[in-house]
């Protein structure tokens, strides 16, 4: 059996021979019975359990401060870890995965006509080869020279059926890059573009004005005299909202019929976290000879600014958690001290029954350590529960440092030990006579 044997064998016992005095007869041995005072760990634990369960409400209240402190620390650390692993919202995610490439702003060279030729028409292919690109496409305004759009072939001078509708030129990849939702029909693809098909995709605003509600029978619209077959109508886009009110046609067609010279902008959707990298690589991929002529705009990382805010909050919560741990420790110390006073007669009795000072100190220390452990376990559970509930509310994946559920209860034990030191010393220094008399 394991024994609490703090005095380290100053009394030669019977059972186990003492390393120094084992050979000598025990001067305290009479009638074959040892007089050694000892307290087995098992018995100590049983005493602790009895003491703490004798007044369960008081035990829980005493532990409360430490419970809150541990819970605050666990929740703060857990939530910091969890939110660090998430893109904080859908808006942020949209921002964080968008790269746009445009020609370097004018004003330096002065040679405007040459600057405009830096974005190639095969931008989709060039960028599609980069690791981290989800979709890429070009978008350009088309100068239709004041031509109006209409959905009937004959120009009826009386009817108001001609509209000034902006025309955009796009590559097949653009619709994915802006995350377009199609209301009806489909968007055009690289095939339409290469063949120079006279097709158009309408934004919902343009479709309403042109009175196009479905595309099953391939309705035709006219921009000036150019006939375009409507292949689809968009429902919504996440980026480039100008698409919603425009007629969008393939690049090749725009080049052919409307005199588009070069694409104006490339829009790239990247994988999460890849925006910065793609921003650095895209100009080279698009224009290897002189990438400096292109400018990639990577939006400032919103997750990073937000995590800076979160860091400040975390520090605040950690400080609060630390403070409530100190308050909790004081609570344990206070109640343990009160219970030493209340249990003076019990301490005297135990001394009369053979307990040493160390046995008394050990018992009170063990009680406060157990209280700390209890508080640590409850606090850890509450902290983890908080992380899980907040995560569920935000649709996050809860992430916890695996050391936390082990370290936090241990922290409770340490708090209990620290808090119990003074009361335990106080209890052990009571003189048995005074302790016994104190209760009479």
């Amino acid at each position: 059996m394991t024994l609490i044997d703090p005095a380290g064998g100053d009394v030669p016992g019977t059972g186990s021979p003492d390393p120094y005095y084992g050979a000598l007869p025990d001067p305290l041995m009479v009638d074959g019975s040892s007089t050694r005072s000892r307290l087995a760990v098992k018995d100590l634990l049983a005493e602790v359990v009895i003491s703490l369960t004798a007044r369960p409400a008081r035990t829980l209240l005493t532990a409360m401060g430490t419970v809150l402190g541990v819970a605050a620390l666990v929740a703060t650390l857990g939530l910091a870890r969890t939110s660090g692993n998430q893109i904080v919202s859908r808006f942020d995610e949209l921002e964080a995965t968008q790269v746009s490439v445009q020609p370097q702003s004018r004003g330096f060279g002065g040679d405007n006509s040459r600057q405009t030729s830096f974005i190639p028409f095969d931008a989709d292919d060039r960028l599609g080869r980069l690791n981290g690109v989800v979709a890429a496409g070009t978008i350009s305004d088309v100068d239709v020279g004041g031509r109006l759009a209409r959905s009937v072939p004959v120009n009826d001078p009386l009817g108001q059926n001609e509209y000034q509708i902006p025309v955009l030129a796009a590559s097949g990849g653009l619709f994915d890059a802006v995350r377009a939702d199609v209301l009806t029909g489909r968007v055009f693809d690289a095939g339409h573009d290469q063949r120079g098909d006279a097709v158009a995709v309408l934004g919902p605003g343009a479709a309403r004005r042109l009175n196009i509600t479905q595309v099953a029978n391939a309705p035709t619209i006219f921009v000036g005299d150019e006939a375009l077959v409507v292949v689809g109508v968009l429902a919504d886009v996440d980026r480039k909202p100008e698409l919603l009110n425009a007629i969008t046609i393939p690049n090749e067609l725009a080049k052919d019929r409307f005199g588009l010279q070069v694409p104006a902008e490339v829009l790239i959707e990247t994988e999460i976290g890849a925006a910065e990298l793609i921003g650095a690589q895209a100009p080279t991929a698009l224009h290897p000879n002189d990438p400096d002529r292109l400018r990639a705009s990577v939006p400032p990382s919103p997750t990073r600014t937000r995590s800076a805010v979160a860091d400040d909050l975390n520090v605040l919560f950690l400080v609060l958690g630390g403070i409530s741990l100190i308050v909790g420790a004081l609570g344990i110390a206070n109640v343990t001290l009160v219970s030493v006073l209340e249990r003076t007669s019990e301490i005297g009795l135990r001394r009369a029954l053979g307990a040493t000072r160390r046995h008394i100190a050990t018992q009170f220390l063990a009680e406060s350590a157990a209280l700390g452990l209890l508080a640590g376990i409850i606090g850890t559970s509450l902290g983890i529960l908080t992380v899980v509930l907040v995560s569920a509310n935000r649709v996050w994946t809860p992430v916890l440092d695996p050391i936390l559920p082990l370290a936090a209860p241990l922290m409770g034990v340490v708090i209990g030990l620290v808090a119990g030191t003074y009361p335990a010393w106080k209890a052990s220094s009571l003189e048995p006579i005074a302790a016994l008399r104190g209760a009479e």
Partner: protein, 224 residues
């Protein structure tokens, strides 16, 4: 003749105070195995002081105390605790039972600081409770017991480790006369079974039941 259980030689106890209190003046006294001794004296005469020294709860400022052949003056604090726990049984005026524990748990506590196994402790606790006539109240809590019953539990607790000496300080001080008689009957019975008893009292009625009476006055012990 066998060595006495208690052998006090010139033992004195002076408390540090201004002026110092000579609570027990130089006392030489022996109590033999199987004796039943009463120590009588008025309040403040030094009865408790003597009992605390006999019980190793206090150390004399002078003289030697040999208990069971052990010179207690050379013992360390831990050794004193061990000797106290194994060789002395205490019965107090105010019982000193733990209210949150049952009768049997209170008695089991007597051997918490010994090497006895848990099952042995429980068995011996039950035996001791049966010996004092409380075999039927093993799982009762002290608050549900009468004063006499509580004192019986305390006596059982004092008996359970088979002490060489049973010390009782005013054991009947909180009891009425009928209950007092039954406790005294029990003491006589225990003494008949070979237990060495020292009972402190200011009540001559209680003292009369002992074989030998010592009286103490102003710290001076005299044989009657």
């Amino acid at each position: 003749m066998a060595a006495p259980v208690v052998d006090l030689v010139d033992v004195a106890r002076t408390f540090d105070a201004t002026p110092p209190v000579e609570a027990l003046k130089s006392t030489t006294l022996a109590i033999n195995e199987g004796e039943y001794v009463a120590i009588v004296g008025p309040s403040g005469s030094g009865k408790s002081t003597l009992l605390h020294i006999l019980g190793l709860l206090d150390t004399p400022t002078d003289g030697t105390y040999i208990l069971d052949g052990i010179d207690t003056s050379v013992l360390s604090e831990r050794q004193r605790a061990g000797v106290r726990g194994s060789r002395i049984g205490f019965v107090f005026q105010s019982f000193h039972l733990l209210n949150h524990r049952t009768t049997v748990e209170n008695v089991v506590l007597a051997e918490l600081y010994s090497t006895a196994s848990r099952s042995d402790r429980r068995r011996r606790a039950i035996e001791a409770l049966e010996q004092v006539g409380l075999g039927h109240r093993l799982d009762a809590y002290p608050t549900t017991l009468s004063g006499g019953e509580r004192q019986r539990v305390a006596v059982a607790r004092a008996l359970v480790g088979r002490p060489s000496l049973l010390l009782a300080d005013e054991p009947t001080g909180n009891l009425d006369s009928t209950t007092t008689q039954s406790i005294l009957d029990m003491f006589a019975e225990l003494n008949g079974a070979g237990i060495t008893l020292a009972v402190i009292t200011h009540d001559p009625e209680v003292a009369r039941r002992a074989q030998r009476r010592l009286s103490i006055r102003d710290g001076v012990v005299t044989s009657e």
